[in-house]
Symmetry: C2
Subunit: 226 residues, 2 copies
Amino acid sequence: MTTTTTPTEERIHLAALRLFSRKGYAATGIRELADEAGLSPSSLYNHIGSKEDLLLRIMRDGYARLWSTAQSGLDGIEEPVARLARLVQVHVYVHATYRQECRVIDAEFGELVQGAREEILGRRDDYESLWARALVAGSENGSMLVPDQRVARLGLLTMCTGVAHWFRPEGPNDVFDVSLRHVDLVLSATNATRGRRRAVASGLPLLDRSWFDRALPDRPVFQATA
Amino acid sequence: MTTTTTPTEERIHLAALRLFSRKGYAATGIRELADEAGLSPSSLYNHIGSKEDLLLRIMRDGYARLWSTAQSGLDGIEEPVARLARLVQVHVYVHATYRQECRVIDAEFGELVQGAREEILGRRDDYESLWARALVAGSENGSMLVPDQRVARLGLLTMCTGVAHWFRPEGPNDVFDVSLRHVDLVLSATNATRGRRRAVASGLPLLDRSWFDRALPDRPVFQATA
DNA sequence: GTCTATACTCTGATAGAC
DNA sequence: GTCTATCAGAGTATAGAC
């Protein structure tokens, strides 16, 4: 997802992901970060502009991944219920797989400086409007029943984002499984129907396991325990 | 909720709530906190043991409020669907009303030191088991259809907790309204039924506006803009 | 209780040799 | 690219006068 990076840049990026997600951006020192990446504090600055830049990079990468995965996942699908279901799949799958990155994005938005905040806010709004459009289209053609679009969108997005906080790969559910469970939760919550029946995950044209293996080949191997 | 506090303690507490929720615990300095509370840094230490203590206090108060409000809100209600609905009402109402406090609890758990973490974790588990029991009871008597208890509980709790992050009193929905919307989202998501019909908020024995006015009289007046 | 002054450590970032 | 040495300021917390 990141545009060509050197091994050292990659190491720094991964170290930042570990520390920022575990201790928080503000609580992570430059010396600590350098140590985790196996460099001296000053060498760090040959690869990053500043701590702030590093955070912005992480957030940019995260939203780029989410955006491009969602776009290709929706490709060729017109039916609002199916589009919403695939958005949920992608969102949950990405949040469970890139937990550290997604938690940093979620928690440290407030640490961004002026210009950076606007940029990331724009990316977030672009992404969330995919959800908004699916909900509007589903309500308009009668395949969903959503009394309050705004509350539903915010609530359901939050639910799916939360996966990054509680999911553990060593837990009882695997990533794909959890994404399907969330599809069903969202379809029920929006009272989604297909034909005359209530829509369920098993009857929809969803993305399968191999699709995710192809779309997200560079999955992180390890993750923080905290 | 807090046990008898002096005006100065109260001012420090409120200043901490504002700053911790806006900038994060780690990013908030003692000098800044003292300034916001209208004291010198050293005077601060006549009222608090340390910055860590202050955080623990905030978390303790928050869970105590959530716990006691939920307990009295459930009083006399046996039906699992109604209990779940009331838990949602209380959770959302409290998270929308005491936004700063709830955001600090949510975001800064990792900043707690050893002993404190265990204490707060215990309080959280106690509280969440109220939700777990309602879901189990509803599934067992057939009034809810929840394929995966654990995922549903975590997902729905996260959705309701998220209200503290996006809710604004000046927005289109008022607090009570948002809580009812969430009751409907949760009832739909759990496929809750009453008799032969799907359960909806309007048909259940819920808590009304005046109940919340009585149960939570000491509402905070102002809230952070960030 | 309030304050000024300060201790000591750690912060992000840079200079300059190699 | 790597490093050691260092800067100026901010971190939490305390001493001690009032």
